[in-house]
């Protein structure tokens, strides 16, 4: 089966790869581009460990074909921290011990960032429903929810 040449933008950088049309965006990120920060926990869109944004819309990269990324903009966990340092969510996850094994963490951070773009001042319930697509088996979510709300508060203060 012939592969398709895909040109896309990942974390602001132009990239190209050859994709079998059956390969998911997650496969392409991990196996062709070496961006292994996005994880596969289920392959069926049920766990959120592969969360990325595609043209700023939060998606499971396991439910996007690699060839669909042509001409689009993909942002992954690897692009979350910038040269100035960690994103407030990343700092707060460490500070609040919001990770144990850390496997769900990249997807949760990407999803939480997208959530706070949509809703900078979420209630606890809004955080919980907003992150319901990201399974965490270690923490019981308590510290994750606290970290997201604390990061949101800090980000609001910075924006003010």
């Amino acid at each position: 089966m012939s592969k398709i040449h895909v040109t896309t933008t990942v974390n602001g950088d132009p990239v190209e790869f050859l994709a079998d049309p059956r390969e998911t965006l997650l496969d392409c990120l991990r196996d062709h581009l070496g961006l292994t920060g996005s994880k596969e926990g289920c392959g069926t869109g049920d766990c959120g460990a592969c969360s990325v944004t595609l043209d700023d819309r939060l998606v499971c990269s396991c439910l996007v074909l690699g060839v669909e990324a042509e001409g689009r903009r993909v942002d992954t966990i690897e692009g979350m921290a910038d040269a100035d340092g960690l994103h407030p969510l990343q700092r707060k996850f460490i500070e609040h011990a919001a990770l144990q094994c850390g496997f769900c963490t990249p997807g949760l951070l990407v999803a939480a960032k997208a959530l706070l773009v949509q809703n900078p001042d979420p209630t606890e319930e809004e955080v919980r429903y907003g992150l319901a697509g990201n399974l965490c088996r270690c923490t019981g979510y308590d510290k994750i929810v606290r970290a997201v709300m604390d990061a949101a508060a800090e980000m609001r203060q910075e924006a003010a």
């Binding site: 049309p21 392959g43 396991c62 439910l63 997208a114 907003g130």
Partner: protein, 288 residues
């Protein structure tokens, strides 16, 4: 597998008609990719509809209803204030499909064409009297949404036919709709039972009603007996009990990993009552 990105529905239909092996259309992809991944489906041709102009648009029709493109993701549907104000039940049905991530991809059309009796967005469309525009080798036709499902995993679409838009009728005055589903968790599950109610009031009295049930029969369908139970009433307790009974009587569910016959039947009545009350409130002007 060949991957196609046609630029018109006519091209898409032609590709599908000419294809020799297994063909799948790609709208949001949240079902097709899962089936491919599980090895359940290995398409020879995958036809991506997202490059067709207009598939991401929600537009007002000349009649005052809505035309919803086949690639409009749930997130865009929920973000459309005017549509949500008129058809909250339709929008909340789609909004209940999966997580935020799924909402970034999943579409009404895909949910419909997947043919699941438990599809959350379909009862709302059926109760609303929505239709679909179908493009095929013979041209374009329309059909009621209710006629598309043909049993689990099946649709009534012919080979080479592709849905090119979903059409909602004008809302009109004093109308309201609602969709409720039951799932074991609070998110991320497939409906064990789903119920949509669409009604129109004349004063305090229900003048018109449609009730659609999901996950309690091989296909999602209207239950005219349930609608009749509330038409002409003010949705008093007796009417609600009659609705509950009619909804239960319409159930022919199965026992499976998601629920039992007894549970589905019982809860169908409960949801019908609860959804009717919400739709009634909305018809009276509640915005919740």
């Amino acid at each position: 597998m060949r991957y196609h990105t046609p630029s018109s529905f006519e091209d898409a239909a032609r590709l599908a008609a000419q294809a020799q092996g297994l063909t799948r259309f790609l709208a949001g992809g949240t079902d097709v990719l899962v089936q491919m991944r599980a090895g359940m489906v290995q398409p020879d041709d995958l036809i991506d509809l997202k490059k067709i102009p207009g598939v991401g648009d929600i537009t007002r029709t000349d009649e005052g209803g809505w035309r919803i493109g086949v690639a409009v993701p749930g997130a865009a549907l929920s973000a459309h204030d005017a549509l949500r104000a008129e058809w909250p039940g339709v929008v909340e049905g789609m909004d209940l499909v999966g997580s935020v991530q799924i909402q970034g991809r999943a579409t009404l059309t895909g949910n419909l064409c997947n043919g699941s009796p438990a599809a959350d967005s379909v009862p709302g469309l059926v109760a609303a009297g929505a239709t679909v525009e179908i493009t095929g080798p013979e041209g374009t036709r329309t059909a009621p949404v209710a006629e598309i499902p043909a049993g689990p995993g099946k649709t009534s679409l012919q080979a080479g036919e592709v849905i090119s838009a979903i059409l909602l009728p004008p809302r009109g005055a004093h109308g309201g709709d609602a969709y409720l589903r039951f799932i074991p968790r609070t998110e991320m599950d497939i409906a064990v039972v789903g119920c949509a109610v669409n009604l129109r009031l004349s004063g305090d009295t229900v003048a018109e009603a449609q009730v659609a049930l999901g996950a309690v029969a091989p296909v999602i369908r209207l239950v005219p007996e349930a609608a009749e139970a509330i038409i002409g009433t003010t949705l008093d307790e007796a009417a609600l009990q009659a609705l509950d009974a009619a909804a239960r009587a319409a159930c022919s569910p199965i026992d499976d990993k998601r629920g039992t016959v007894a549970f589905r039947t019982e809860v169908a009545g409960v949801l019908a009552r609860r959804a009717a009350l919400i739709a009634y409130g909305r018809a009276k002007g509640d915005t919740a």
